[in-house]
């Protein structure tokens, strides 16, 4: 007994000491503290748990182990920069700062350093134009497709016409919240609805006056572009003025479990757009339970598994690891670099078979990334909260946004960026 233990130990020591493949570095720029910490922690848990699962179950990706080290930012741009500088030298493959402000700041830096950045459903929308933004990806959805999917949903439930309706947008008064305005204004002109803008200053605990205005003006629908503590307050305030919850629709960052639970039964019927499925009814969660949670390796306390934001963090890890596989196949090596990772992301194709192999059949839409389109098709669905069962359910299929409206906006914004920074076309 003792000998076998000793032998096992010796083998382990030899394995540890022998020169193995370098790890695949995935710095996890996360925030578990501050006003956005409750939401940031769930995303970080999902990301980290899936990476741990890959290590424990498959021994990494394509034989190379994954190293996902967290770096805490507290949602501050300065600390994000520090985290970036601290990790980029270790062979970081891809960044994902989970903050629109930080993404704006990192776009020129990562491009100059040749490291890709995946801003999944946040960041600068026009990075979908890969012709200008060579290293930045924002598949499978972005703010403008999200806004358009919401408007499409509203069109659906109003028999195809929003003529004369009023829509209020309560948004975090920052780059993040301001992103959808341009699209919503254009869509408003097209479909004939009035848009009221209600900026809410960060972090968003104080929004009495905005809700007073909503109470006075009685808009038909309220859209919420919030994050962290702002969502909980907004949903509570909406409940306080008895605003009908089914007319209150959030972006995907305003539709997580801990946004709606504090308002209790009053939040029943609240809707949000999403680009991936909800719940823990997928085979991959059994593996996470077995290899990660039960083994005591979860990043958090294990209680977040299956929540909306946990799923999103996991989905991000899934897409990144699939891109690694693409890169490994393209370049014939398991030990890929950031430049190869960029190629992997750019040639990523997600199909039903792939999702089924991962154990996530029907979790997210199929899409294809290309040099010109770093954003995917931007499909989105609407989820609704049921306060009684404490669960979200998808009430629509994944639908396409109105790309006729969004594509010109993306082209215009990225052209402005290209002109400002003298960027030549990347794809030809």
């Amino acid at each position: 007994m003792k000998l076998t233990k000793l032998a096992a130990f010796a083998v382990a020591a030899v394995v540890a000491a022998s020169p193995v493949l370098a790890d695949l570095e995935f710095p996890s720029i996360s925030y578990r503290t501050g006003p956005f910490g409750a939401n940031g922690a769930e995303v970080a848990d999902g990301f980290s748990d899936y990476m741990t699962l890959l290590n424990e179950r498959d021994g990494g990706i394509g034989g190379a182990r994954v190293n996902a080290v967290e770096c805490e930012t507290g949602f501050s741009a300065e600390k994000t920069l520090e985290c970036y500088e601290a990790t980029k030298g270790n062979g970081a493959l891809v960044y994902s700062p989970l903050s629109t402000a930080a993404t704006y700041q990192m776009i020129p830096r990562v491009t100059a350093d040749g490291i890709p950045l995946l801003s999944m459903g946040y960041g600068r929308t026009s990075v979908s134009n890969g012709d200008v933004f060579s290293h930045i990806f924002n598949f499978p959805g972005n703010y403008w497709t999200g806004a358009s999917v919401i408007v499409n949903h509203l069109l659906d439930i109003n028999d195809g016409s929003l003529e004369g309706k009023t829509i209020a947008l309560a948004f975090h008064n920052s780059a993040f919240g301001k992103e959808p305005i341009r699209t919503l204004e254009t869509l408003g002109e097209m479909h004939g609805f009035d848009l009221t803008l209600l900026p809410i200053d960060s972090p968003g605990q104080e929004q009495k006056s905005q809700w007073l205005q909503i109470r006075r003006e009685k808009p038909d629908y309220v859209l919420l572009w919030g994050w962290g503590v702002m969502n909980q307050v907004a949903i509570q305030e909406a409940a306080n003025i008895r605003f009908p919850m089914e007319n209150f629709i959030g972006v995907w960052w305003s539709g997580s479990d801990n946004d709606v639970i504090p308002a209790g039964a009053a939040s029943d019927g609240y809707k949000a757009v999403t680009f991936h499925a909800v719940g823990s009814d997928f085979p991959v969660f059994a593996d996470i339970q077995k290899y990660v949670t039960d083994a005591g390796l979860s990043a958090g306390d294990g209680g977040n598994v299956g929540t909306v934001l946990y799923n999103r963090g996991m989905y991000q890890a899934v897409l990144m690891s699939e891109a690694v596989k693409v890169a490994q196949a393209m370049h014939g090596t398991a030990d890929i670099t950031a430049a190869m990772m960029r190629d992997g992301l750019e040639n990523l194709v997600i199909t039903d078979d792939m999702m089924e192999a991962i154990g996530l059949k029907g979790f997210g839409p199929n899409f294809e990334v290309s040099c010109a389109n770093h954003g995917g098709p931007g499909l989105g669905a609407i989820q609704q909260w049921d306060a009684e069962t404490q669960s979200w359910s998808l009430i629509t299929d994944f639908g396409a946004p109105d790309m006729d409206v969004i594509a010109p906006l993306i082209a215009a914004d990225s052209a402005a960026y290209a002109a400002e920074n003298e960027i030549a076309s990347q794809c030809n």
Binding site: R32, E72, G74, E78, E82, G89, A101, Q105, A112, S174
Partner: protein, 358 residues
């Protein structure tokens, strides 16, 4: 033994009133400059630049500015974050409107614009003092941040309301934008720190500084002996805002490269700079540097020790960081209410006597 006046004869008035009366200090000062200008640029990398040196240098400038206002002239201000935003947005407008002008001049002009804004918000100091003035400057903080969020002209009508710094050069070397090298950015900020610290030192021990200190110690008495409170207080506000504006312009253009006004120039920033000044030492040039090092670099050091060396989870380390920095602030203020600069002053006195204290 080494640290003493003996044998160091002052034979002119100039020598008698020099900043560093001790030969040892003068040597240390020149050595520091040689290292900072001649050695560091050859070894600096992006991590040291962006995590350590740039924040230290830039916050030191802001602290010098607030120290002139609060430490020397005794006017409490909570508007530093707002004034930094003025510097940053002026710099952005100048950079994008006059792309061919050297960024050096843009930064200086941003400082001057901030000085004008500071003068305007300094006017209430004629009538109100102390806490009431602090609240009035708080209004500046909120008003300015609101303004830069509200008026699209300031951010050139960009969709997100963010401003990002395009590449601009000094003497052909890029100091802003993603392609600027670490030594270029570092030297650019270092030159500003040196010039501004030298100017602050000479202002504070000249007639300006004497007037400020007279107003700080007792404004009625100062007025009776012939100090004009209007010019003294307004000059303190103007010069202080000039410094803070320059630091804001540097934070935006050189350090972060893109700025969201709510995130970077919030009330937190005003508090941070006030704490730097209080911890470092009110009314001390050196204190501004020590305070900046303490409050800006200590968290980075603690993080590296706890996460990098001890391998703690990053959120636990972040919480501990708050606790440790907070505890250190309280302990420092109890042990030495006059700040770290006073500790250095006492050390110097002891050193002069060492090793024969009696």
């Amino acid at each position: 033994m080494l640290y003493r006046e003996a044998g160091d004869f002052k034979t002119s008035y100039g020598k008698d009133s020099q900043t560093f009366p001790l030969k040892f200090d003068r040597w240390a000062y020149w050595l520091l400059l040689v290292v900072a200008f001649g050695v560091v640029p050859f070894f600096i990398n992006d991590y040291w630049l962006n995590a350590v040196l740039l924040p230290f240098l830039i916050y030191a400038i802001a602290a010098l500015g607030l120290n002139i206002l609060s430490g020397y002239a005794g006017q409490i201000s909570l508007g530093s974050g707002g004034f930094m935003a003025v510097g940053a947005y002026s710099c952005y407008k100048l950079m994008t409107s006059f792309p061919d002008v050297s960024i050096f001049f843009h930064v200086i002009i941003s400082g001057l614009i901030t000085a004008m804004v500071g003068l305007a918000f300094g006017l209430p100091s004629m009538r109100i003092k102390g806490f009431y003035l602090a609240v009035a400057t708080l209004a500046a903080q909120f008003f300015l941040v609101w303004l830069f969020n509200k008026v699209p002209w300031f951010f050139n009508y960009s969709a997100s309301g963010q401003i990002s710094a395009p590449e601009r050069t000094v003497l052909g070397y890029a100091v802003t934008g993603p392609l600027a090298t670490a030594p270029a950015k570092y030297l650019f900020c270092l030159v500003f720190v040196l010039l501004l610290a030298w100017m602050a030192r000479n202002l504070t021990r000249g007639s300006f500084g004497r007037k400020w200190m007279a107003i700080r110690d007792m404004d009625i008495a100062a007025e009776i002996i012939g100090v004009n409170p209007l010019s003294a207080k307004l000059s303190a506000f103007g010069i202080s805002s000039f410094y803070i504006g320059i630091s804001g312009a540097l934070i935006f253009a050189v350090f972060l490269g893109a700025v969201d006004v709510n995130d970077t120039f919030s009330i937190q920033k005003s508090f941070l700079i006030l704490f730097i000044v209080i911890i470092g030492g009110l009314g001390s040039i050196l204190g501004s540097f020590i305070g900046a090092a303490f409050l800006v670099l200590m968290p980075v050091l603690l993080k590296n020790i706890m996460v990098g060396q001890l391998g703690w989870p990053s959120d636990l380390a972040a919480h501990f960081e708050f606790i440790i920095v907070g505890a250190l602030i309280i302990v420092t203020l109890i042990i030495e209410p006059h700040g770290m600069a006073q500790v250095w002053r006492l050390t110097k006195q002891k050193l002069r006597l060492w090793p024969f204290p009696h």
